[in-house]
Amino acid sequence: METILLTEDDVALRAQLRFALEERYEVLEAGDVRKAINLLGKHEVTLAVLDLGLPPHENTPDEGLRLLHYILENFGIKVIILTGQKTESAALEAIKSGAFDYLVKPASIEQVLFSIDRAILFRDTERKLEEQGLAKITFGIEVGKGLQPAREEAEKNIILKVLKDTNFNVYKSAKLLGVKRESVYYFIKKFGFRREDIDDNA
């Protein structure tokens, strides 16, 4: 059964969301960032539904975005934002950071469930593709700046992913990438990759 972390500061709303979700999923509840981080450390969470306006700053998306970054950097799970923060900048920041979906309150429960189903489907498909050696790598780039920065960013992300997957084994990485070991060393130096950074993020 999927375990969903539901982070929402409104107790009444959280209870209704929980009731709607708990028939199909195991639901963990948090009312603030601290509790959410605590639960993430103790349980195997597979997906998160997250409000951005969390205490002590309920009227800004800062706390929610902070938690979003933490989840994506440390757990790499799909995160669905369900928030009253309708500002374009908050949505942009969340999507840019890697949130799977951005739902604006009041959203229908069907919408929330549909988004969760899609997130699970995407995650499972990505896993299958990874098993086949096809990894989905996302990166942000300004289209107007031409091909060179996009190429470099793609290169950087692919090499970083392979290094992570091989636990920084240069020989295996070179084999997977189909390049010489010297080239892998060159990229490690060029992009400033360090084993400890990769280990920390893993």
């Binding site: 409104d10 009444a12 709303l13 209704q16 205490p55 002590p56 009253g84 429960i109």
Partner: protein, 369 residues
């Protein structure tokens, strides 16, 4: 003889010259006094017009006439408003135009004789008038900007709560239609029971915010006996505060309003505890004669801007609205009580003193009919 005659004629000349200087000095004094009087009248008129240039400018013409200024013309723009009175195309004018991002002022006066000392008098009056107009405009723009800013903050604050309530209702409607078996039904009721206090506090807060400043005298809403200690304990539980509440005391007030008062205090402490996880929050309630005094204190860091704590729209939080404590004090005062805050040795301490009050009069139906 000739010398004597010369001295006699010089003597007369000195006397005449002295008299002339005296007359000139008196005339200058008259001109200066007249200018000062006109200045004073303009300042007074501006104040009487409540610093509204739309009302002030039509009165200026009559005032400056006393200082031999024939006319005043202007072209003032601020926001979407334009105030304009075209100039006469006269040669004897003093004019100035200033354009700033939020407004522009074009001002001119038509003088009778712009020469010599009189010109300085005109300039003094002109500068005063220009200053008054610019001050009125700046004041108007600042008040409008502040009001818009505070309105938008208030809207953000209310939107957050209203969106959550609406989302709650959407969830409720969805769940009601899908409750299923007895076990789910039981859990649904249990969740609703858990949610009720939070929902009640939230809706009370929305109402209190919307009603703030529009309450009518004598319209206190439904009066009932409220157990102060129980109210505080409920809020401690709602916010998951570490701490104890003790004592006893009840007051006859509007329950929703009283909940808003304590909610604003305890919520502040709860938010503070996010950055100070060791913070505890304690409360004591005691009855003294006709009053009930509640002391709520936290064990956290002191407040820096203590003097401004109850000032509307003042906040130390990045996302705060700054009306919570203002609203709390406002309600307590309406109850005929008092609310204070202080940094003490043990932490930040709020003291709320309320009159015990009396139960509302029961209307007995007339049995004679």
């Amino acid at each position: 003889m000739i010398t004597l005659r010369l001295i006699q004629s010089m003597y007369m000349l000195v006397i005449v010259s002295g008299l002339m200087v005296l007359v000139i000095l008196l005339y200058l004094r008259y001109l200066t006094n007249r200018a000062f009087k006109v200045q004073l009248k303009m300042v007074e008129a501006n104040s009487e017009c409540n610093y509204d240039i739309g009302l002030f400018l039509p009165r200026v013409r009559e005032l400056v006439k006393k200082a031999e200024i024939d006319d005043v013309f202007y072209d003032i723009t601020y926001g979407e408003k334009v105030l304009s009175k075209p100039g006469p195309g006269h040669r004897r004018v003093i004019t100035r135009k200033v354009t700033r991002p939020d407004y522009s002022i074009g001002l001119g006066i038509v003088t009778v004789s712009p020469r010599g000392y009189q010109r300085y008098i005109y300039m003094i009056i002109f500068e005063t008038l220009f200053l008054l107009i610019e001050m009125d405009l700046l004041m108007k723009i600042k008040v409008a900007n502040d009001a818009l800013y505070n309105f938008s903050r208030l809207q953000t604050f209310l939107l957050h709560d209203v969106k959550n309530v609406t989302q709650f209702i959407k969830g409720l409607l969805y769940n009601i239609a899908r409750i299923g078996g007895a076990d789910r039904e039981h859990r649904f009721v249990e969740y609703l029971r858990e949610s009720a206090p939070a929902l009640s506090v939230r809706t009370d807060k929305i109402l209190a915010t919307l009603e703030m400043g529009s309450e009518k005298e004598g319209d206190e809403g439904e009066i009932e006996k409220v157990d102060v200690l129980a109210t505080i304990r409920e809020l401690f539980e709602l916010y998951g505060m570490n701490g104890q509440a003790s004592g006893e005391g009840s007051v006859f007030v509007n329950r929703h309003k009283l909940v808003t008062v304590f909610d604003n205090i305890i919520k502040n402490m709860h938010e503070k505890s996010m950055n100070e996880p060791e913070l505890e929050c304690h409360a004591s309630v005691r009855e003294e004669g006709e009053t009930v005094t509640t002391v709520i204190y936290d064990t956290g860091s002191p407040i820096k801007d203590m003097d401004r704590m109850f000032e509307p729209f003042f906040t130390t939080k990045k996302s705060g609205l700054g009306i919570g404590l203002f609203q709390a004090k406002h309600v307590v005062k309406k109850f005929g009580g008092n609310m204070t805050v202080a940094n003490t040795d043990r932490g930040v301490e709020f003291t709320v003193t309320l009159m015990k009050g009396a139960p509302p009069a029961v209307i007995v139906p007339d049995q004679t009919l």
